[in-house]
Amino acid sequence: MTSIVAAEGLSKTFQVKVRDPGLRGAVRALFRPRYRDVLAVRDVTFRIEPGEIVAFLGPNGAGKTTTLKMLAGLLYPTSGRVEAAGFVPWTGGPPFKRRIALVLGNRQQLVWDLPPEETFLLNRAIYDIPEVDYRARLAELVTLLDLGDVLQKPVRQLSLGERMKCELVASLLHRPPLLFLDEPTLGLDVTAQEAIRRFLIEYRDRHGATVLLTSHYMQDVTALASRVLMINRGRLLYDGALDVLVARIARTKRIELVLGGDGGDGHHVTAEALAAFGEVKSFHFPNAVLEVRREDAPATSARLLAAFPVADLSIEDPPIEEVIRLAFARGMEEEQ
């Protein structure tokens, strides 16, 4: 299978003017401007296969959006090579741009004063979409996104969620095989976020599109992405499945117990008794949470079941946010 996106040694350095604080600093900067190199993206290499949904993960300023913009041809890399949808993005021109969609959560293409349908019609002309295809695709997108009654309302009267949905429609009418989504759920309420996530999965399944997205919302990543690219300070720290990352970073698992059941009510169980099996994270009868080494989890569970009356037992990974925090902390240690 040929990759739809291939980045090799991708780097981007911005020159940023540095200025000392205060009036004196401002005057000095006027006559002798000093510049500092900011390494936004450093030597990033990865490949993405058609149909994958891949999430860029990282704190603000990590280089996620810069990478995305280089892949979409908006930014010229300082060094490295990229091929996306069969083109070098910044020389691909209109044929490349017909094969991608770029959705920016904070910068919208919908014409503010007009109903969204006018932007759709404009894109029909810009992308040379035949009338028949336009009608069919619009109907499909409107149904999938449940947009029935908003097409004729001026964009300025739409809710943020409705606007983002319309933004997706405008960006997908030309049926691009490769989607770049920068914070597509930014600022949306939970219902709207879920609607967008459901839509993206459905759209990928129907049309085999490849999706690259950045997001701050962990739910976006867990619900959508089969794979994550973890970026911090411009470096790619991890590339792979989310659960593998969790397994690698989280050296522990959590055993969640509900005491009681057939073997008695379990009132005699104490925190001290549980501590013999692992670290007690919380104990509020009848609920207890133990943390144990990952590889010990099955055996410890069996011993717990034998030792106590247990109504319910589950083995969980630590919360994903915690894993990510750990991963970034470790990534920084390795760098230093």
């Binding site: 041809g73 908006l74 010229y76 044929p95 969609a101 920016l104 904070n106 810009i126």
Partner: protein, 264 residues
Amino acid sequence: MIKRYAALIRNAWLVDLQYRASIVLWLLWGVTEPAIALGIWWAIAGDGSVAGYARADFARYFFAVMLINQLTIAWDSWYLDRWIRDGELNYRLARPLHPAHEAVAENIAYKARTASVILVVWLIVAAAWPAVRLPLDPGRWALTLVAVLLAAAMRFFISFTTGLLAFWTTRATAIMELHAGVSLFLAGRIAPLALLPPAVAGVAGALWFRSMLAFPVDLLTGAVHGADAIVRGLASQVVWLGIWIVAYRIAWSRGIRKYGAVGG
């Protein structure tokens, strides 16, 4: 490409129709400046003339300025400055259509709307006031049309290129303001170039300012006559248009590499 332009112009007009009051304001702005200039020269000329310009000549001149300025003016540096600094350029760069086409379409939409209204105003005034009537000379009108197209194209590239300076500086619109200020005198917006000191008029002719406005205006009112002068004026327009196109190409290709794609 025609379909794309039609769609872009249609959207520009739809947006305009949302803001009827602003159309009136823009129109007033377009009429006020030449009207004030005319008022001043009207008073100065009195019953005599200034450098060969009597009251009726001034009236014709400034009515022509009113029309041709609206047909050739370009606001693109303001739009581009915003696109670049606020990151609105991002989605425009992701579309298979060069952002300059959207700017050209906006220009056509704007010019068609304001110039048509000014033309109507002029016809009404001319019906009542013979001084502002122009001779119906098809050859002259055709030459003026060519000169207006060249001037409009040149002013577009000047404005667009200046707007592109926003890739490097946050003062792109200030540079355009400065240019507008200089052109007030050198392009003939405040007075016919014939009334300027010869040295200043010479600078206006040697640079692009006369080609921007004064030449097409003089062509329309008949102040420029003789095949020689007309050919020289048109040639100067072509040369300066070429120079600004080259400047635009350099600024675009360098700037787009420099672009930081603001936003996120």
